[in-house]
Subunit: 553 residues, 2 copies
């Protein structure tokens, strides 16, 4: 690979300094927070910066309305109306989100590449083409700003994915999904931060630094789509694209308090991204999917992608069309399996509370609740890890080594270097094991006659920086069930510390990370809703239904 | 694997003699052809035995009607009616096909396991349960006899798949597909022959011997589902189940003159068969699918399987439901890409003629014809072979070695022993190469705006025994497009020998296998219709439409 045998380059810190200075330079002066204000907003160890954009004076009232009172679906409605009929132009929407993303960046370090100029230029072009051709049909994402996780490629901009080796090497082509979204009318205006290697839950790397959680800066923003989590939580984006092989859409959604939808594999185009593993590697497949400010925005994204023959743009996509299934009606008799914890980690007080409240609300709404347990997550976790180590992390270690950059803390924690690669015979055996696990989960589903499963993503809310260790969320990647994150609120005063850990010493250690409502002030609570494999359309309907009950929409 | 370290067993020929004697003993005396009659029917080197069941006197008029004047769909209609309303009982249908399968076996050696007793017992049971519960809804395959390729498991019977090692070891469970078909009302009454290793196109092995082509015994019956091809051609079955990883449904359909449908991977349950490769091996996936006496029987099979959530019985099945798409109407503007040959072998005279006639009929019917070429089959063939050699054929060599049985001729021809296994890195690279080939084919499809592709399965009709060498039909396995075989007639007097081979010495050698209409008397002609990946439902509709035009139904 020519990229790894690069000619002499600057040291990693010089490249990083240039990248960060360039990023800063692309934020217009008028959109910058004064240094003393910034210091003030972020001075508390548990600083919450969600309110800053409104107070900053940098967005006008209309821009605050655009960014705060709309989700992707209502913005698209207004964009389709156009300014003449009380709606919005693409330009004003894109500018509003550029401003807000600029603020989010200053407050949480969530953005990697800034595409404000080209985004605003495209929005203007869309507006004028429309003015010139008022009868032309508008594509389904017309004029909508969409943010992208850094690994997605847009021509002219780096897709370094937090690896020094790939910095200052602009992409020449679109990844498959941005290409499709662009064709459907989307406007790209920024890309967002990831962890070094994209294999941890802390979006921290040597190129761009660490993304902070806008709800409480002492807690992780999650990863690997952590930049998206923080940006969407700040409403610097109403619809961002992340990716997920072990929780990377769901963890940041969960930590930052956004909606997030992890599709089944090969439903949404994934091809053509910067990839920290060998091309053609088998095992658990990564997937692309949305993070958004509403469930219906995630659902609309899924509908738009699935309705547009994604296999035409990514040959790996399944030919599973959007069918327009009827939504379950209020009062429908749904059966939802509730999982209290993963059997390894005891749910901490805020997680137990939100699950209890959800159970009560669902029962009141007539949903049939079935208590179920996940069968044998402990053994299955070994199968999950084995997949991620399939090539002994050779490719990503080469990438990091070639740039002579140090490992960040969260990467050190997972011990990449010690991972053992597989032989062909071990791969065959791994496939057999996965198939058995898939069978076990399918049987769990059928025996309980489930419509969906609801569980906490993990035992805690967003934990302190570099402490995420749970892998059990990746079971849904292993068995390939779509799953989404539904925010339910915040840590409350009633969520007092207790000593309820019941699974032994390791559990106890993690359980103690929860130090009470004061330290966890502002930390979002959320639940995970899981659907049947490749029945992603069905999960969008169930998710709307359940979100409606949990959040009384 | 305990099966390979078996305790002392009899030599391979003793086991084979016992298996064959047992098979013979399970054919009732009254259903046996007198030895001299049998000799007479099969004495000519190009003997055609299709007419023998009618002449044998072993089936009565009603049994001849059942086996000759119906396909699976009309039989199911009559079975649903029942004998009181002018239809059939399951028992009489099953008995009729047992008789005819017994004759087919004596004439072509197409059957492996005989399940007549248990099949007839089940049919009786179905009939009496129905008589007792006349209002009970009947499942979609109620009472229909279905034949199975030997590798499918039915409890109580061997599934040796032509390997001595697995002979005399009755299965204890159903394979996934027979289990589903059984639940849906099917009756199993016999299993059918395959090649040793299931990797050649000649259904010949040391357990059961060689299956002959009922149209002309000097030509191969094809493989690996060759027993099904011969049995269905004899109308000893109206619906048989085969499997296909490189042509194994299509080759015998093509050679014997039956309809055959190779689905996309993971549409029809495949799990739980006797498998000549390591469990969990990646690469090209084998698929199960129907051989039948009519296109609509294949299509009905696909509809029944896809409508019944096959993932409930085989966790590998995709969640792609049958949707009930509207059929193209007479006069619909379809675009069909016609491929003259694979660019390696020149089509021989009967193949050129049938393709030319098809082209004319389709054009007259208003179909838009696009001439296309398959891009680079020669290079892609190496990718196909590499998949079959992924483990260096270690598993199947072990199975054959453990039984100390010799290789049959067609297995010697393909040179199993010399196949090189892959490393993990080579597997990753193979996946990348396959993806590029898939992209190339998808682009061919989109650029030509195709609804389907029509081509000859290979350059010749059924060739002489042990001479099949074409691999290009496996491109549709590699890119995973569903494809079906539509019979078009027989070799005709006008198909005179010529010297038209245009691709060099190897082509010339194969081309010369065609020695004219006298030697190839009775050899079926057929064409292959190919649909888009995972759009199997759509291909059933297109296949009905095209079959209607080619065969003026």
């Amino acid at each position: 690979m020519s990229t790894t045998t690069s000619t002499t380059r600057d040291s990693y810190d010089k490249i990083a300094a240039r990248k960060q200075a360039e990023r800063q330079s692309l934020i217009p002066e008028a959109w910058r927070l004064p240094a003393e204000k910034l210091a003030e907003y972020t001075s508390s160890p548990t600083a919450n910066v969600l309110h800053v954009p409104r107070e900053s004076g940098i967005l006008n009232e209309r821009e605050l309305d655009i960014t705060e009172n709309h989700d992707a679906v209502s913005l698209l409605e207004r964009l389709r109306k156009g300014p003449k009929d009380g709606g919005f132009s693409s330009e004003e929407v894109v500018v509003a989100f550029c401003k807000r993303a600029a603020l989010a960046q200053q407050l949480t370090n969530c953005v990697t590449e800034i595409l404000f100029d080209s985004g605003i230029a495209r929005a203007k072009e869309l507006d004028s083409r429309r003015a010139a051709n008022p009868d032309e049909a508008l594509p389904p994402l017309w004029g909508l700003p969409i943010s992208l996780k850094d690994c997605f490629k847009v021509p002219g901009f780096d897709a370094s994915a937090g690896m020094i080796l790939f910095a200052e090497k602009p992409a020449t082509e679109y990844s498959a999904l941005p290409k499709l979204l662009y064709q459907l009318g989307a406007v790209f205006y920024c890309k967002t931060n990831v962890p070094q290697t994209m294999m941890t839950a802390d979006s921290d790397n040597n190129v761009f630094g660490r993304t902070l959680n806008p709800n409480n800066k002492s807690l992780t923003a999650g990863g690997s789509s952590g930049g998206e989590g923080a940006l969407v939580a700040m409403r610097g984006s109403v619809l961002g694209i992340g990716s997920d092989i072990a929780g990377s859409i769901r963890i940041p959604s969960y930590c930052c308090g956004t909606y997030g939808f992890k599709p089944s594999a090969n439903i949404v185009p994934y091809a053509g991204q910067t990839n920290p593993a060998a091309d053609g590697i088998p095992g658990i497949l990564p997937v692309a999917g949305p993070l958004a400010t509403s469930m219906r925005s995630c659902n609309y994204f899924m509908q738009v992608v699935m309705s547009n023959q994604p296999w035409k743009i990514d040959v790996d996509c399944l030919h599973i069309p959007w069918r327009g299934i009827a939504a379950p009606e209020k009062g429908s008799k749904l059966r939802i399996g509730i999982v209290e914890d993963d059997g390894i980690l005891t749910a901490t007080p805020p997680v137990r509370r939100t699950l209890r409240q959800a159970r009560e609300k669902l029962a009141r709404a007539g949903v049939e609740i079935v208590d179920i347990k996940l069968p044998g997550i402990k053994e299955d976790s070994a199968t999950i890890w084995a997949s991620f180590a399939m090539e002994g992390c050779k490719t990503v270690l080469e990438y990091i080594g070639a740039a002579e950059e140090p490992y960040v803390q969260s990467v050190q924690n997972i011990g990449l270097v010690a991972m053992k690669s597989m032989t062909m015979e071990e791969l065959f055996a791994w496939n057999v094991t996965r198939s058995k696990i898939e069978t076990k989960y399918r049987d769990l589903w059928l025996e309980n006659d489930l419509d969906a499963i609801l569980n906490p993503l993990t035992a805690h809310t967003a934990p302190p920086l570099d402490t995420w260790s749970s892998i059990s969320q990746a079971i849904w990647n292993l068995v390939d069930y779509p799953s989404c994150i539904i925010p339910t609120g915040k840590v409350e005063a009633e969520d007092v510390v207790d000593q309820a850990a019941k699974y032994g010493a390791d559990d106890e250690k993690i359980y103690q990370l929860y130090t009470g409502p004061e330290d966890y002030k502002g930390a979002p609570t959320a639940l995970q809703l899981i659907g049947m494999k490749q029945e992603d359309e069905n999960l969008t309907l169930l998710a709307s239904f359940v979100d409606g009950i949990l959040n009384e929409n």
